[in-house]
Symmetry: C2
Subunit: 521 residues, 2 copies
């Protein structure tokens, strides 16, 4: 995610004891040596590029001189550190070798480069390097971590007296996800098997020293993304220690007034970003709730519950006189990418959803008074929502002064349980039938639609949409699930260029969660 909202007079509040706990939970990375599976040709296809297989396997290139190159295919998506040997052929090298390297999660990135980039997000995310190799032969060990399947190497120059051979290419892939911990799948449905496999690969490549949102861009620990990663993790990699570490990090490094930030940076030292999002702060409540449900770790629940309560208190300040979350013009609440989405109704629903989770945790901790308080608040917000945001004539929740109808609002109210199950089912079927207003834009938002359908027993409908939407990415050749997917526009990007879209994005990995939680029995 990349959002330019920032809070005023930002300062970081640090809880050193929490930070120490988080640091003690830093995982060891599992390293795997990956060799190229072969070479491909990058073939223009309209505005896109396809990778046409050339050779299977790769030992060494032919001798390459000025302007020559090749594109390696590592066979799957990987996150890691690449090295190769550059061997001169001909006279003793009388000039450095100058190479351009382009790493791509998709063929387009390996074909188009820095000079083609016109996006708004920093061009520093484009995985392109210019390297001089002064002394040959050389083992070139690239110090940066890349997320990629394809590596296009172009020899910009050697000299008329020598050429270079590229050989011994290797990627030291890294992940804190241990595949051997993943329970085997029972289902024989090949579509589900494939959705599950690609979900797991997406998860694996995002599991690093924290749960990263995407290993190419922007590599941060976002709490909205963490929530979905953690849910998937509990039924797949089962690395509960990594979730616990992330919870302690968010609780250790808060913004002004103890607000949990939207994301954390891990380097040069752990720190909270100055971005605040209404829903993301509240998702600390959800993450803690889900973690306790999955792990039964009461000690962590007890220690971090005050941080969760603080997020609810801060959010409740934002109510207007009617008990409805005040709308704002800024990028104050995420919910989804997508042009023009009004966030008020969704924010109200997220607050109700998390108040109920707060109450549940209070009960687990034997804090009946707090449980009653949060339940009472959830009830009041639900009533205010029904009074002010529910349009009975339309049969939809509306949001903002413009009374906007959006999928996100309906989905979140279904999840918040403002209605009972029957009414929820009618709402969701009406939504899918009428397709009103602002549609869902991202796999993150689609997750919530699938979750609402599953939780209200609309399993077939959920599976059908999941196979259609995530399956669409598979049909487009995805090795890992993408940050953004619009079936009607494969070039869609909120960043002005899909070159910086993340094509391995953890918030898109929840098919494995749904399959394993609801289907794989």
């Amino acid at each position: 995610m990349a959002i330019t909202n920032k809070i005023e007079n930002f300062r970081m509040e640090v809880n050193p004891a929490f930070l120490a706990k988080a640091e003690a939970l830093a995982p060891a990375l599992i390293e795997t040596e990956i060799r190229p599976a072969g070479t491909v040709e990058l073939v223009p296809q309209g505005e896109d590029f396809a990778a046409r297989p050339l050779e299977r396997g790769f030992v060494r290139s032919r001798p390459l001189g000025r302007g020559d190159g090749l594109c390696l295919d590592f066979g799957d998506h990987w996150v890691g550190y690449v090295s190769f040997t550059l061997t001169p052929v001909g006279s003793p090298p009388d000039a450095p070798a100058l190479l351009r390297l382009r790493f791509g999660e998709i063929p387009y990135e390996a074909a188009a480069g820095l000079s083609d980039y016109q996006g708004e997000v920093s061009r520093s995310w484009i995985q392109e390097e210019l390297i001089h190799v002064d002394v040959l032969p050389a083992q070139v060990r690239l110090p940066r971590r890349y997320a990629f399947r394809y590596l296009a190497i172009t020899v910009l120059d050697t000299s008329p007296k020598y050429q270079v051979v590229v050989e011994d290419v290797s990627c030291r892939a890294v992940s804190s996800g241990d595949r051997s911990a993943v329970p085997p799948l029972k289902t024989g449905d090949p579509e589900l098997v494939r959705l599950d496999r690609v979900s797991l690969k997406t998860m694996e490549d995002c599991m690093q020293l924290v749960f990263e949102d995407g290993p190419k861009r922007d590599r941060r620990l976002w709490i909205g993304d963490l929530r979905l990663q953690a849910l998937t993790n509990y039924v797949t990699f089962r690395n509960n220690g990594l979730v616990k570490r992330c919870l302690y990090l968010f609780a250790a490094l808060t913004q002004n007034e103890g607000r949990v930030g939207a994301c954390l940076f891990m380097e040069p030292r752990p720190q909270v970003d100055d971005t605040a999002l209404f829903d993301f702060s509240l998702f600390f409540v959800s993450c803690l709730h889900d973690y306790y449900e999955a792990s039964g770790d009461r000690e962590t629940l007890a220690e971090l519950f005050p941080t969760a309560c603080r997020q609810l208190e801060l959010a409740l300040r934002e109510l207007d006189g009617r008990g409805v979350v005040t709308d704002r013009d800024t990028w104050w609440c995420f919910l989804d990418w997508g042009d023009g989405l009004n966030k008020q109704a969704g924010a109200q629903a997220v607050l109700i959803y998390t108040l109920k989770q707060g109450a549940a945790m209070a009960e687990r901790l034997g804090d009946g008074e707090r449980a009653a308080l949060w339940n009472e608040r959830a009830g009041a917000l639900s009533r205010a929502a029904l009074e002010h945001l529910w349009d009975g004539e339309l049969g939809f929740f509306v949001s903002g002064a413009g009374r906007q109808v959006s999928w996100a609002s309906q989905v979140w109210f279904a999840l918040a349980g403002v209605f009972g199950r029957e009414e929820n089912v009618r709402l969701l079927e009406r939504l899918i039938g009428q397709k009103p207003g602002i549609p869902l834009a991202t796999p993150y938002a689609y997750h919530h639609l699938i979750a609402a359908l599953m939780e209200n027993g609309l399993t077939e409908r959920a599976v059908s949409i999941m196979k259609d939407y995530w399956g669409g990415m598979l049909r487009e050749g995805a090795d890992t699930f993408w940050e953004l997917y619009d079936p009607s526009d494969r070039f869609a990007s909120p960043y002005g260029s899909r070159a910086v879209n993340s094509f391995c994005h953890a918030w898109s990995s929840t098919p494995a969660y749904f399959i394993r939680k609801y289907l794989d029995r």
Copy 2:
């Protein structure tokens, strides 16, 4: 120098004992920390750029975002390793910083870059880097060595949420030339003082682990360049051990049949290039002769004399039935850059010149038989030259089937002493008066003109040409003397682009030699 000639069936012959001696003589590099003297603006001036001073001194830049930059001026030419600190300003950096760095010996290189380069020599010599800084703040330590005065830093991107400040910029300059060993100059002539100072700076920056030809490009140990560096060294830095090391390297690493190569590479291990040049192989004789004259090191003379003799023997094979060196179509003999120069006459003169030096060394070693042999050969070649290459009507030596008249031929015959001094003086005055045929192209060739004038007592004429030619570079703003200088075409390059000309080139540093040997009494 960059020449694409290569010998057939090339192999390297190694003398391990000589190599060990050379390695034991490796100098310690003297390190000096250099800070930027200020900032400049690179102002277009026709096809060139000028550096207009902005600020004196430099502590830190203003905050720089996408597309911003600055150009640092280090006040003089340096060879070394650059580091700087990149400090973020604004929100926590949510993307890497992407910088383009351009190092320039002259303003043009710092302004024009890789993408502008259209030359024939490898574009890998262009001192331009693209660097990603993933974690900020960062101390950026560039691993490569640069030869430069100017450093243009352009921030290609940060992100909308932060900018970067460049500070603590430093160059760890390196040289094996010890300035404190240089005798002070006596002359008060400001032009000579300036020529000497810039010669010394040129020498200093080329004195590394060997005498490099140019520290920017191509950084090799060329024996033709070594000969002039050594002559200058004896009267300036007096690092005779470095000359001895280079002599042992050339003798240790020969080409087929014991031929001394035109140049050596030092990395990844010392090795001789496959380039052979008639005159350059013979200059091993000159280098050894001059080294003994300067050092009196009889042990080295005795040990390396057989290598010198071998070069004379190999060269004498190239005579035709008339006793004249056979002309060839290839790049077989250097003498000078310059279009269309025929090398036959110059080669004949170089062979006579070095046969006489061989005889002198044989005499020093008490080898009268060998001295007589080389003197007899020199005499025979001189007579053949006068019979077949001297055109009495023209009053000039001619070269090749086309009977080409060139400055290089006349100058080398004057140095070879085929005539007595009076006839030499007439030849040189005729040359300067009539300006016939192919002119001199490089400071390397001008060196030989000045040497011929000085040795024949035409001191005033020599000083006048030296002040005019090398002084011309000073008037063009040279900090160090250039590999190539054509007063009528400041963009001249044998490489298709002056961006890869070397602007600190040791063969151009001999004004200090002439001043100190002939003038500074």
